[in-house]
Amino acid sequence: MIFDQVGFFVLAAVAAFAAVMMIFQRNPVNSALYLILNFFCLGGLYLTLSAQFIAMVQVLVYAGAIMVLFLFVIMLLNLGDDKHLREHLGTRMYVGIGVSIALVVELVYLFLYRSGKLAVQQSPAAAEMGTVEYIGKVLFTKFLFPFEITSLLLLAAIVGVVILAKKKIAE
């Protein structure tokens, strides 16, 4: 079982590294690429949690579709040069760093000392829960109504995007 732990720590380290590097890149394209790396690592972590279907969706939808959309918009806006995007970092940066560090300390304290007795190993029932068969069965029985509402949400998003991104026809 040492293999599990090595896998987890490597994936977690790369995910954390990619998240931090994403913040500190000046070029948005580099940021997007680090975010894609982070999403791949999260997909691997989902596999260690025996959630195969969600891991696949993570790679396909997030690292694939959504990040391609981001990269496409970055290239469409031609933000390659950062000259006119100079970021003024003053007191706001210190406030931001302070708030984030306070949040980290709070959450770590919460999870380590205040969370009571957490499970130490995965539930044996979780092994077959991540398969497409199980997910599909639950999705179309117990969660049928939210699933249908999701289609409405996507329709509204499509209409909104078309209206927002449309060029003004009459000047």
Partner: protein, 100 residues
């Protein structure tokens, strides 16, 4: 086996990095990517709980969060494009027409 705590700590760290990015960065697209990062860290928490408690509801919730994130990314990027068309910038300090 890996305790549940480790997943929660990684998720908390990623969430806070996302918060830091939203507060510090001024490029609207990078702020947007930080929001995606925060959504994903919460997804990791949900999947971890789902797996350790043996309850599939967490995975369903992640599924719906992903669809909402896809819709949100599309609408948000359309807003950014519309803003860029009008103001020729994506620096959120210069986009202040809602400010009194």
């Amino acid at each position: 086996m890996i305790p549940l705590n480790y997943y929660l700590l990684l998720s908390a760290f990623m969430f806070c990095v996302g918060v830091l990015g939203v507060l510090v960065r001024r490029n609207a697209i990078i702020v947007f990517m930080c929001i995606e990062l925060m959504l994903n860290s919460v997804n990791l928490t949900l999947i971890a709980f789902s797996s350790y408690l043996g309850d599939s509801t967490g995975q369903m919730l992640v599924f719906f969060v992903m669809t909402v994130a896809a819709a949100e990314a599309a609408v948000g990027l359309a807003i950014i494009i519309a803003l860029f068309r009008n103001k020729r910038t994506v620096n959120i300090d210069e986009i202040n027409i809602l400010k009194w």
